[in-house]
């Protein structure tokens, strides 16, 4: 067998395998993945830490939203950390008169999101910390939904269902579909004790966890992912809610989306690399499956791109006379598996969207997602590789 054929079979088998793991996880947990933990009735103190950099556009509304939380107001505090904004963010945060929840606004020199979070956590008095972006909007039962997960003393963090509001923008709608899929996969991964991220838009932590595992990494492209990996590297649990909703504002154009995703890819890869020492049986599924899978996925992407390029460049001259026939004859095991993987992923996406009652996705967005949006990943990954090779400095 030729080397290139072997590589293509390995990629095909790997893609199939990862998808099947997800499908089986779904089948195994289909009766419980939507279940909510029993209400505890407890109302511990919660500090909501909101780092903000030039968020004057959204911050007032997002604080207003917190006032609507169904939770004793005297058990809450809001800590806004203005990370050296050049706009009115600080002024707006401090302007809430007669606010039902006490708001503490702080101002510091610009030092990045991780530093701002750590600053806020140091000021926080609550037993629990909710980290939150200034452009996120919570729904009122957020804390009532998330806190019961902490009844299990090993649970150190819980993430809610981060969603995007329906809109008329194609790009936002496609991301909305994608977020539903991410949520669904994250829920399934939580059954393997390998939650990949405690999302920046909103996540809750036991305050003690920062003493046990340390504060947020201040020099990380995706500090919300690093903290999740670190918490789990100490064998603590992270849970994921499918019900508690928080709405975030997605990138509105291709350029912003691209830079966000390249940041995720670069940061994500580096974080998993940092925790590669966990590839050991004692770290269970996280060590033996989730982490290796990340590297294998990245490896598959690059091999696939290299393979396609190689095939294109080495196409024999005569194929131009029979390109139509060659297309038919070219259908092989790899093509078959590729088609199968696309169909299976589409089915998986359908399951994901169906899991969220009330989330209606128009067929045209679903089809565009399956037919085009997915393949943007090749672009992100190529840019990620390019930036790594050029050793380009990290930036937001």
């Amino acid at each position: 067998m030729e080397f290139t054929t072997l590589i293509s079979y390995v990629i095909a088998f790997f893609s199939l395998f990862t998808l099947n793991v997800f499908i089986l996880l779904f089948l195994k947990h289909r009766h419980e993945y939507l279940k909510r933990p029993e209400c505890s009735g407890k109302t511990p103190t919660v500090s909501i830490v909101m780092p903000a950099y030039n968020e004057s556009r959204y911050i007032a509304e997002s604080i207003q939203c917190l006032f609507g939380l169904d939770y004793p107001k005297d058990k809450l505090e809001i800590i806004v950390v203005d990370d050296g904004s050049t706009d009115d963010t600080y002024k707006i945060a401090g302007s809430f008169k007669d606010s039902p929840i006490s708001i503490h606004a702080f101002r510091k020199e610009n030092g990045g999101k991780g530093a701002a979070l750590n600053f806020g956590i140091k000021k926080a008095k609550g037993e629990f910390i909710a980290t939150m972006d200034a452009d996120s909007f919570v729904t009122k039962d957020m804390l009532r939904e998330l806190l019961p997960y902490f009844e299990d003393p090993e649970v150190m963090a819980v993430s809610p269902a981060v969603k995007i509001r329906p809109s008329d923008s194609w790009l936002k709608e496609l991301q909305r579909v994608e977020y539903l899929m991410i949520l669904f996969s994250r829920k399934l991964l939580s059954f393997l004790e390998s939650v990949p991220v405690t999302p920046g838009p909103f996540s809750m932590f036991r305050k003690v966890v920062f003493d046990k595992v340390g504060p947020f990494d201040e020099h990380n492209l995706v500090e919300d992912q690093e903290i999740a990996l670190r918490i789990q590297s100490h064998n603590y649990k992270i849970r994921s809610s499918m019900v508690a909703e928080v709405y975030t504002e997605p990138p509105a154009n291709m350029k912003d989306l691209l830079s966000q995703r390249v940041r995720w890819q670069r940061g994500g890869f580096r974080n998993y690399w940092r925790y590669r020492h966990m590839i050991k049986p004692e770290y269970g599924d996280f060590g033996m499956y989730s982490i290796p899978m990340q590297f294998a996925t990245i490896g598959s992407f690059f091999s696939l791109v290299a393979l396609m390029l190689y095939t294109f460049l080495t196409t024999p001259y005569y194929v131009r006379y029979i390109w139509f026939e060659a297309f038919g004859m070219g259908i092989d095991l790899f093509t078959f598996i590729a088609v199968f993987v696309v169909l299976l992923s589409t089915f998986f996406l359908y399951l994901a969207v169906k899991s969220f009652e009330g989330e209606k996705v128009k067929l045209r967005y679903f089809i565009t997602f399956v037919a085009f949006y997915w393949y943007l990943m090749f672009g992100y990954n190529m840019l990620f590789l390019l930036k790594e090779v050029k050793k380009e400095a990290f930036s937001w």
């Binding site: 090993e154 499956y289 194929v319 026939e325």
Partner: protein, 217 residues
């Protein structure tokens, strides 16, 4: 928390993937043999067309009255024969699928259409050049490259209105027609090209080939 590895989950996913993989291998090999079968059918049907042109020429007692019919039918035949050759090469080189008996059958067809083309060229005063490419799939470093050079030369000449018909033979397949042609043209190594009956052994670039073809006509 005590961590565990969900071994049954991965075994399950592995077995599911394996099942789909085996199905893919089965479908793939079925399709490969169906491609070979369809080329085999094409070889037979084109053989019939060659035979009917031969018959027509014999019946007309070598008169040139039907030359336009011969030429147009033969052009179509040669075109089809060439295409089948590419398909066989594609299956063999890109997918490792081949059938030596089919290849031999194909070489017989090729030899027949070559002989017929020569006959029609003589009979009708057609000036298209006939080029035979003798190659080998074993130990021939530049045979593939030679094939490409020939095609490039042919395409460039075609753009200038010079017609070249191509016939390719694998000289080391023990095909009796290929061996007979090799003996006829004194071919001793690979690659070798025969242009309008004259043998040139060794690798030739497309420019060299173009010069040879232009010199021969």
């Amino acid at each position: 928390m005590e961590r565990t590895v969900s071994v049954p989950l991965y075994i399950g996913a592995f077995l599911m993937s394996l099942a789909i993989f085996l199905l893919g291998i089965y479908i793939g090999s079925t399709m490969d043999s169906s491609h070979l079968a369809s080329i085999s059918e094409d070889v037979s049907s084109v053989s019939d067309r060659v035979a009917s042109v031969q018959l027509l020429i014999l019946m007309e007692g070598n008169s040139s009255a039907f030359c336009p019919v011969y030429s147009s039918e033969l052009d179509a035949i040669d075109n089809d024969v060439e295409k089948m050759g590419y398909m066989l090469t594609y299956l063999e080189d890109e997918k490792g699928v081949f059938d030596n008996e089919l290849k031999k059958k194909y070489f017989v067809l090729e030899a027949e259409s070559y002989v017929l083309s020569r006959k029609v060229n003589d009979l009708c005063g057609d000036d298209s050049t006939l080029l035979i490419n003798f190659y080998s799939n074993k130990d021939c470093g530049r045979c593939k490259e030679q094939g490409t050079e020939i095609l490039q030369a042919r395409d460039e000449l075609a753009a200038g209105g010079v017609g070249v018909k191509l016939f390719s033979f694998d000289g080391e397949l023990n095909s009796s027609v290929a061996d007979a042609l090799e003996a006829q043209y004194g071919v001793s190594g690979y690659p070798s090209v025969v242009i309008d009956g004259k043998t040139y052994s060794g690798f030739r670039t497309s420019d060299e080939l173009k010069a040879l073809i232009k010199g021969s006509s």
